[in-house]
Amino acid sequence: MARGEQVFEVFCRIAPGDPMSHIGTLNAPDIELARVYAWKIYDEEDWAEMWVVPRAAIASAHPDRFSPGSEDGRP
């Protein structure tokens, strides 16, 4: 992944089988530091799972976000 400050979204599951919840965001220059920062910042639970996703990799699937000329669902 290219180096440069990016926004990452953080998702967690408290226990296996629980719904995945969006718990916050963070800034990091790459995915490796994003993983460390996520665990250090959002440590209020003993999470069963924690995932970080670059915001740029998330595409909206809501119909309202489909606009003419958009090929990927991004606004």
């Binding site: 180096r3 963070l26 800034n27 990091a28 790459d30 490796e32 460390v36 920062y37 250090k40 910042i41």
Partner: protein, 273 residues
């Protein structure tokens, strides 16, 4: 002598083990202090939170080790009641002074912190149960410390220019001071032979050098050179004057101002115990 003290170790092994644990505890205390100082001032808010979190973990580890020193060796190393002079501390010399910049934090994180994790890992499965029982939890927390360090070293290597140069300079100094922490080859042979440690300090030092070398485009820039199958300091350590009690060559110690802060010297009047 405490009633639940670990039995079964020979006196000579106990005598050799004690300074090793003191050095771990002292260095973790100082490392925690510096991480704590850098809760504010790092190049990213997230990095400050990580530094603060790592400070808590280092203090926690030091406290745990101090508990072992008290129970097993009748040694009181409570930072708030510690009256030792700076030249009695067994901490790695790189931590003696305030960190000048983020480069020093990255170097301490990559070199000193990882060296401590390696030193702890040698007690995983140790015959010395008081330490063996707590090592796994400490190492679990340490995983994130090195991931953080690795991220920042690689970032600075990619960045180039002055930040990379500053980071390399700090890493070179940290490597030199940390090499002394592991001592001359063979100094811990009796502990390894007795099953108190699973690995010699010399082997751990080789692992430290190898891991740091892997992070860098050119390990020579931090004073490492390849010899046979290992990485070593290009300027070999001269062991004359090495203090086995303090595990360092540098005769100095942590700055008095740092010790005063750690001890709460200005706030003695507010002590509750």
């Amino acid at each position: 002598m405490s009633a639940d003290r670990e039995e079964g170790l020979e006196t000579s092994h106990r005598d050799a083990l004690r300074p090793a644990i003191v050095a771990l505890s002292d260095t973790k205390l100082l490392l925690g202090y510096h991480y704590g100082e850098w809760t504010f001032g790092p190049p990213a808010i997230e990095a400050g939170i990580a530094a603060c979190s790592m400070a808590q973990e280092e203090f926690g580890h030091a406290r745990l080790l101090n508990g072992i020193l008290k129970r097993e060796f009748d040694l009181e190393v409570d930072p708030l009641n510690d009256t030792r002079a700076p030249a009695e501390f067994a901490s790695i010399a790189f931590l003696d002074r305030p960190f000048a910049s983020w480069a020093d934090v990255v170097a301490a994180n990559a070199v000193v912190d990882y060296a401590l994790a390696l030193a702890l890992s040698a007690f995983d499965g140790s015959r010395f149960q008081p330490l063996a029982k707590v090592v796994a939890k400490m190492l679990m927390e340490e995983r994130f410390h090195f991931a953080h360090a690795e991220g920042w070293v690689r970032l600075m290597e990619d960045r180039g220019g002055a930040p990379r140069e500053a980071t390399r300079t700090s890493i070179a100094r940290a490597l030199e001071d940390t090499a002394a922490f592991f001592g001359p080859p063979g100094h811990d042979a009796p502990l390894v032979e007795a099953g108190v440690k699973s690995s010699s300090d010399a082997a751990l030092r080789d692992r430290l050098f190898a891991r740091i070398a892997r992070l860098l485009e050119d390990p020579a820039t931090v004073g490492l050179r390849r010899t046979d199958d290992t990485w070593q300091l290009a300027d070999p350590v001269v062991w004359e004057g090495w203090d086995p009690a303090r595990r360092r060559l540098d005769p100095g110690g942590p700055g008095q101002a740092i010790l005063d802060e750690l001890r709460g010297t200005k706030n003695v009047a507010f002590k509750t115990a």
